[in-house]
Subunit: 325 residues, 2 copies
């Protein structure tokens, strides 16, 4: 099954505008258990399930409408149609319609925040298309479609804690995200922006190289299995120690598989290592703080409201976010 | 089988001085394929085989003699008998004799060079005891005994390229090192001393934690198998690219298993990551240079004589060693 066929299977193949303009919004998410490695490159089908938390207030609000020619605006600025971001957007839209479309996105994701804006971008775009074409899709359908644009976008369809089930089917129809019931008002995430330089290698390529060359990666599914179970239990019990431990070990495990790939993939900068040691020192001093990292140099802290001031003292540059408002 | 029984099995249980003074010398070694993880803590039996290269000129020359009381001198300075280093030395000597012994070691290993001085220390001590007690042991016997003092000391019994065979026996009598035939006059190692601070956790403890808590470690034997084969082929063909690749991937693989342990073991400092990126940048510029790292923050470069000046330009502080003189 190719991408186009998968898209048609979800939408029923209809692509007539039922509104002058479709609209949808979605937040970025931070994976506490990572999506690392695909079993199907074209359909973005993952090797393992994953679990994330949405960051409300950081994301995309997108409008789509029929137009004379393709056009893509981000925060009012027209994007060059030859640029990679625009190419990915219209490759995605072509799964549904051959007619030209105008896409206007308002993004509140700081471009240099070390947050994957493609997750919220494709989730918002999928919702906007669903609105414009009147597909009336369920969350599950939206998640499957968003996944075709960007794997982690499957999770950004929902807010709060979200689990993306890897699924087993060849066509990916069982590979979608679902929200967990739990909320955790005291939970805090702290963003440490350590570098806004372009990454030496894209995460898509890094993931591929890991799957193809890392021997340790063969144990990645075992790492994920343990962390997913631990994280879900931690969420249900609001146990920060357990949540943090599994998130941190999972992130370090992902970077471990990259480091052991060939050629090695090292996203870490000296500043990343300094921040990691800083987290460990703070933890040893008695403050329950943990971290996660995506495929990049930046570090994201995990803690609770009670320890905000301790975290802020140790990391004055931190940007603190309350995922549950 | 305990340590004492193993020692008796090798020496035949004799411990009568046949000389007024026994003497022996040994060099430090750098593992190109690491010893990481024990299958028997007491006998220092490794999970996997390993492969190293000796650094002539950096090591220990040791003299032992019967004395009125235990005494341990390093470069003329008496060591406190309660200190860890002296305790390990006399725990080792007690495997062979209850009589007090005076040990005098001249070490040319800079204490802060990030080189394991225990490897050359226990290998030299074993040779000195063999000389003093007249055991007339083969290299194999010396290697087994040295291993009881410190795992990697089993390799320092020999010079040049050395392979330590893990063995399978419970008593460890098939777990010893052997020299490879090959020499490689153009090979160079470059020592980058990045920190002389005490390590946050000893390698013995880090190894144990990795074996007990890292899931990725289950693939470590597969990593070693591939690297040992690749390294031996590289040595026989004097193929620096292949040697470097396997040494670097093996070292990163070892650190990967530590990082994914819990609590995570991170020996890297910001300076380590900077040096790693520096090696990669130099390699991308066309200079065939690779690195290895032990359980610490320091980086050891691997290259050939033809590229000494390029390496020295990129790393002015490097200390270059020719393992084959």
């Amino acid at each position: 099954m190719n991408k186009h066929e998968a898209a048609q299977l979800v939408t029923g193949g209809t692509s007539n505008w039922v509104k002058e303009e479709g609209e949808g919004g979605a937040s970025v998410n931070i994976a506490l258990c990572k999506y690392w490695g695909k079993r199907n490159e074209e359909l973005n089908l993952p090797v393992t399930s994953s679990l994330s938390i949405g960051l409300p207030g950081l994301g995309a609000q997108t409008k789509v409408r029929p137009a004379a020619r393709d056009a893509f605006f981000v925060n009012g600025t027209p994007m060059d149609s030859a640029a990679k971001a625009a190419a990915r957007v219209f490759d995605f839209i072509r799964l549904f319609t051959r007619e030209p479309v105008e896409v206007k996105t308002e993004s509140t994701v700081p471009l240099a925040a070390g947050l994957a804006s493609s997750a919220s971008g494709f989730a918002a775009l999928t919702k906007a298309l669903n609105d414009g074409f009147g597909w009336n899709l369920s969350g599950r359908g939206l998640s499957i479609l968003a996944r075709l644009g960007s794997g982690s976008a499957s999770r950004s369809v929902f807010d709060g804690f979200v689990r993306w089930q890897a699924g087993e089917r060849e066509d990916g129809m069982d590979s979608f995200a679902e929200p967990l019931e739990a909320v955790w008002p005291d939970l805090r995430m702290g963003l440490l922006l350590l570098s806004d330089k372009a990454k030496p290698i894209g995460s898509r390529e890094a993931m591929k190289r890991t799957v193809e060359t890392s021997l340790l990666y063969r144990q990645w599914p075992a790492r994920v299995k343990e962390d997913l179970a631990g994280l879900q239990e931690a969420v249900s019990r609001r146990d920060l120690t357990q949540l943090g431990r599994h998130a941190e070990q999972n992130a370090l495990g992902m970077h471990a598989t990259m480091l052991e790939s060939w050629p090695p993939v090292m996203y870490w900068l000296p500043e990343s290592v300094q921040a990691i040691h800083g987290v460990h020192a703070l933890r040893e001093s008695g403050v329950p703080v943990y971290f996660t990292m995506d495929a990049g140099p930046n570090v994201k802290l995990i803690f609770t409201a009670a320890h905000e001031s301790a975290v802020r003292s140790a990391f004055p540059e931190v940007r603190i976010i309350a995922p549950f408002g």
